[in-house]
């Protein structure tokens, strides 16, 4: 009887756990890729920090070793001082400029904005090299000028110091504060200020009591990003702190990789960097997400500029001073050195030479290889990151699979992992057998893809959200399947978005140093690593020429992006 009833019952397969369900297979494939790229290296990092390198048994010896020495603790402390210094200085540079450009009648706003963007484009290690030429003890340009002017017997600037390091990094990272602050200022309605004016507050009082407090969360957000960027940096600290004989966490991590390689200790030592980053991002989200402060809402009234009167020239002077520190001066001396026979001989025609470029492009095979590697790896990375993130963004926005937010979360997770920590995770997970990827281009591309996946995913998801699902549904109701809809409608509509995202991944990948330095082998060196190696030889002319090649290529690609996609694409996606 029961059997007969069963036979008659309509087939009603339970949907959720059917493994044959195509959406389930899709989900499993995507989650497998993301686990391979993100979860596995990070788990490997944590696990190996508790493992005995010989026996593989659980131990806390790595932590005792990593934190048991005074100089290792000193490096931790140095990192905190360094990061805080950079953050504070970046605010002193970024906030006034953002306010001046967004809310005042300061002249030459467009030019200053362009220069801030320039500061954003210059990799910090290149800025550091520029500043070594400018403020190296005695030989640096600024010191020479000082000696010539005052007749003193030695210069007053020394880039090889904690102060020097802070200034050098702050001038390249203030654009973060700038972008956050001006973004918020652009949204504060003038009516807020008018309300204070009508009650009798003057310009200065209004600015300090109303305008700036309204954008305070944004400023703090920028401050936190500058801090995190600084403590995760490897290049600039390595160039400046090592000769100055002090260590920060990133350079100390690098020392763990000198023979004999102590990955387990490095993993243990990387933990504070990871935890601080996660905590600070959480803090930033909390601050920026707090309601109550969101009078900074898109709409609401016009925005008028504050008239500064004669003070606008003072403001411009300050803006030019910041631009000089971050762009003019370092770029001037880098260009000079790149085209010089010997940079110390100064600006004269007989010192002019193309020899450095000829050497790099035609004579030195290692340099050629590095240039090719850089662009090949970055290009592949950009395609891989966008392909993956687009597929995931599609699945997430269309809710094709259950728990799709897990996919989105994993895509964004690398955002809170410093590059240097990610690289150690990749080294621990994939350098040893069975994959044995150390020294291959593959491990670099995989690490880059993971590192820049959040950028690609943010762009892809924004693109997907910008396309009304009805566009796709219109294809389907007329008789086209999902693939037809993607090919004929979605892909053409997202073309510009994707081109922008490609550039946004390509540029940071081309200049990436912190993760590359741990993963390159003899045949997979990239420009950034080569710059670092050359700096140890002290050949600043060739070094500058190579930096110029990297910078000019980056600029050309960014310019193509601007032309093709519109000027705001970098800001919009930032």
């Amino acid at each position: 009887m029961t059997a007969a009833l069963d036979h008659l019952a309509p087939a009603a397969p339970t949907r959720r756990f059917r493994l044959a369900d195509p959406s389930m297979i899709l989900w499993i494939v995507m989650i497998a890729i993301l686990v391979f790229l993100i979860a596995s290296p990070m788990v490997r990092l944590v696990v190996s920090s508790f493992q005995d390198p010989e026996t593989g048994r659980l131990t806390i010896a790595n932590y005792i070793e990593a934190y048991g020495r005074a100089r290792h603790l000193q490096a931790l402390w140095n990192t905190l001082v360094f990061g805080s210094g950079v953050a504070v200085l970046a605010c002193l540079f970024g906030v006034p400029l953002a306010w001046a450009i967004s809310r005042t009648d300061m002249p030459a706003k467009g030019f200053i904005r362009l220069m801030v963007f320039g500061a954003f484009i210059i990799p910090p290690y290149l800025g550091a090299i520029g500043w070594i030429l400018l403020a190296g003890p005695n030989a640096g340009w600024l010191n020479k000028v000082w000696i010539a002017l005052t007749g003193a017997d030695h210069g007053i600037f020394n880039v090889y110091s904690m102060t020097g390091l802070i200034v050098v990094v702050a001038v390249t990272s203030f654009p973060y504060v700038f972008v956050f602050t001006s973004g918020a200022l652009d949204l504060v309605s003038s009516e807020m200020e008018d309300a204070a004016n009508i009650l009798g507050a003057g310009t200065i009082r209004t600015t300090f009591r109303i305008t700036l407090p309204l954008v305070l969360p944004a400023i703090v957000g920028g401050l936190i990003i500058s801090f995190l960027e600084a403590i995760a940096l490897f290049g600039a600290p390595a160039l400046i702190a090592l000769p100055a004989r002090f260590q920060v966490v990133s350079t100390q991590l690098w020392q763990f990789f000198e023979y004999p390689v102590r990955v387990e200790q490095a993993a243990a030592y990387a933990m504070p960097l990871l935890l601080i980053t996660i905590f600070m991002f959480w803090l930033q989200r909390t601050l920026l997400g707090r309601r109550g402060y969101t009078t900074v809402s898109g709409k609401g009234g016009e925005r008028r500029v504050t008239r500064l009167g004669p003070w606008r020239w003072v403001m411009l002077g300050y803006a030019l001073f910041v631009c000089a520190l971050s762009v003019f001066l370092p770029m001037l001396v880098l260009t000079q050195a790149a085209f010089a026979k010997a940079w110390g001989r100064g600006f004269s025609l007989d010192n002019l030479s193309l020899q450095n470029f000829r050497y790099l492009l035609f004579e030195q095979t290692q340099a050629q290889q590095a240039i090719i590697n850089t662009f090949v790896y970055s290009g592949i990375t950009a395609f891989a990151a966008i392909g993956l993130s687009l597929a995931i963004a599609y699945v997430v926005t269309r809710k094709l699979v259950p728990w799709s937010n897990v996919l989105a979360f994993l895509c964004m997770a690398p955002f809170v992992i410093p590059g240097i920590v990610l690289a150690i995770g990749f080294y621990a997970a994939y350098a040893p057998p069975p994959l044995a990827l150390y020294g291959t281009g593959t491990i670099l591309v995989l690490a880059y893809t993971t590192r820049f996946l959040p950028i690609a995913y943010t762009s892809s998801a924004a693109g997907m959200r910008s396309v009304n699902p009805e566009m796709e549904e219109a294809v389907r109701i007329l008789g086209g399947g999902r693939l037809t809809a993607i090919r004929r409608v979605l892909a053409p509509l997202l073309k510009r978005n994707l081109a922008g995202a490609w550039i946004l991944v390509f540029i940071p990948a081309a200049r990436e140093l912190s993760s590359a330095i741990f993963l390159v082998g003899p045949n997979t060196r990239v420009i950034s690593v080569m710059l670092f190696d050359l700096s140890e030889e002290g050949n600043f002319e060739v070094l500058s020429a190579l930096g110029m090649i990297l910078l000019v290529t980056t600029l050309v690609i960014a310019a193509i992006g601007f032309k093709a996609i519109g000027r705001d694409f970098m800001v919009r996606n930032a």
């Binding site: 009805e470 566009m471 549904e473 219109a474 007329l478 008789g479 037809t484």
Partner: protein, 351 residues
């Protein structure tokens, strides 16, 4: 045989039922509107017909064939329907001509056929001269016409429209209502039209299904729906009305201070709610109105709206408030006494 048959369909999201057991039947070539406030489940119903959403209970059949049931649903691309979306969803990367040709291309028609049919349908919607334009170069109304042409050109089994006029400005909206009805008269495609605008539904539809809280309250032609609403919701949603409550008994209905003769369809005894349209009553200064029941009232509020006066009146010795409209020249002052005449033929008892 019915063209489209919805049998007990239901869509639940967790505990919430967006559509809670809905039956609807469309004849071949019929134009039916789903009319209701936002959140009543009308768009969900339409998307279940299209196949974008699967019902959690019930079935959807077309030409006697099951399209959707809780155990599975035919994907939208296999249903031979077409749909017009709220956003028009005209693909910006294709010209007007390419947009309209798309569905025909998917059906692998010969090139020459496609060209001819695209040309013909664009003429029908008065867009022939704009075939080479891109959608970004068109106005909202023109995009709407492209969406219409694109949907009709494939001669779908069923045409679905999801609030197609809600993004147009008022004048254009009025014009497009008649345009949609004209196209329906020309092509006779079975159509389901979702809207929250009663005028839109009344202009376009053969029948209107008024929806509320995931259910259909009443399905009827526009005239019946307005004049013989079955439920309080329908009477209130279609046009303006007064609800007055009384007690039936002894062949009449007592409303406190006055009584009216019993109404057709009302219960013989017990509580009764009656819907009275503001324009179905007459205000006059003199008593006596062709034998219609009359009560003495006082004018409580008034507003002049140009096309008519809008009065609120109170019957003597009663707390009841009634809205009455009169032509612009019938002017009464607030506080003035008058006689109010009812028309029993235009009064409907409400379930």
């Amino acid at each position: 045989m019915s063209k489209l048959l919805l049998r007990g369909i239901e869509k639940r999201y967790g505990e919430v039922a967006a559509v809670a057991g809905l039956d609807l039947e469309l004849r071949e070539g019929e134009f039916v509107s789903l009319l209701g406030p936002s959140g009543c489940g009308k768009t969900t119903t339409l998307r279940m017909i299209a196949g974008f959403i699967e019902p959690t209970a019930g079935t959807i059949e077309m030409n006697g064939q099951v399209l959707s049931s809780p155990s599975g649903a035919l994907p939208p691309e296999k249903r031979q329907m077409s749909m017009i979306f709220q956003s028009y969803a005209v693909w910006p990367n294709m010209t007007v001509g390419e947009n309209v040709a798309f569905g025909l291309e998917l059906r692998k028609l010969p090139r020459e056929d496609i060209r001819r049919r695209v040309g013909e349908i664009l003429e029908v919607v008065h867009m022939g001269h704009l075939a080479a334009r891109y959608p970004a170069e068109l106005s909202g109304g023109q995009q709407q016409r492209v969406a219409l042409a694109r949907a009709i050109v494939i001669q779908p089994q069923v045409l679905l429209l999801d609030e197609p006029l809600s993004n147009l400005d008022a004048n254009l909206r009025e014009e497009m209502r008649f345009e949609i009805r004209r196209l329906h008269d020309e092509f006779r495609i079975t159509t389901v039209y979702v809207t929250h605008d009663q005028a839109e539904a009344m202009v376009t539809s053969d029948r209107i299904a008024v929806m509320n809280l995931g259910r259909i309250e009443q399905v009827a032609d526009p005239h019946t729906l307005y004049n013989r609403p079955k439920t309080r919701f329908v009477a209130g949603f279609i046009g303006r009305t007064n609800f007055i409550e009384g007690n039936a008994g002894n062949g009449q209905i007592a409303f406190g201070s006055f009584a009216l003769p019993a109404l057709e369809g009302a219960p013989a005894s017990g509580k009764v709610t009656v819907s009275v349209r503001p324009q179905s009553m007459r205000l006059s200064r003199a008593q006596g109105a062709n034998g219609r029941p009359q009560v003495a009232v006082t004018i409580a509020e008034r507003a002049y709206l140009g096309e008519f006066w809008d009065y609120v009146v109170t019957p003597a010795d009663s707390a009841m408030k009634l809205r009455v409209t009169t032509p612009p020249l019938e002017i009464y002052q607030v506080g003035e006494s008058a006689w109010l005449a009812f028309d029993p033929n235009q009064m409907t008892p409400i379930a």
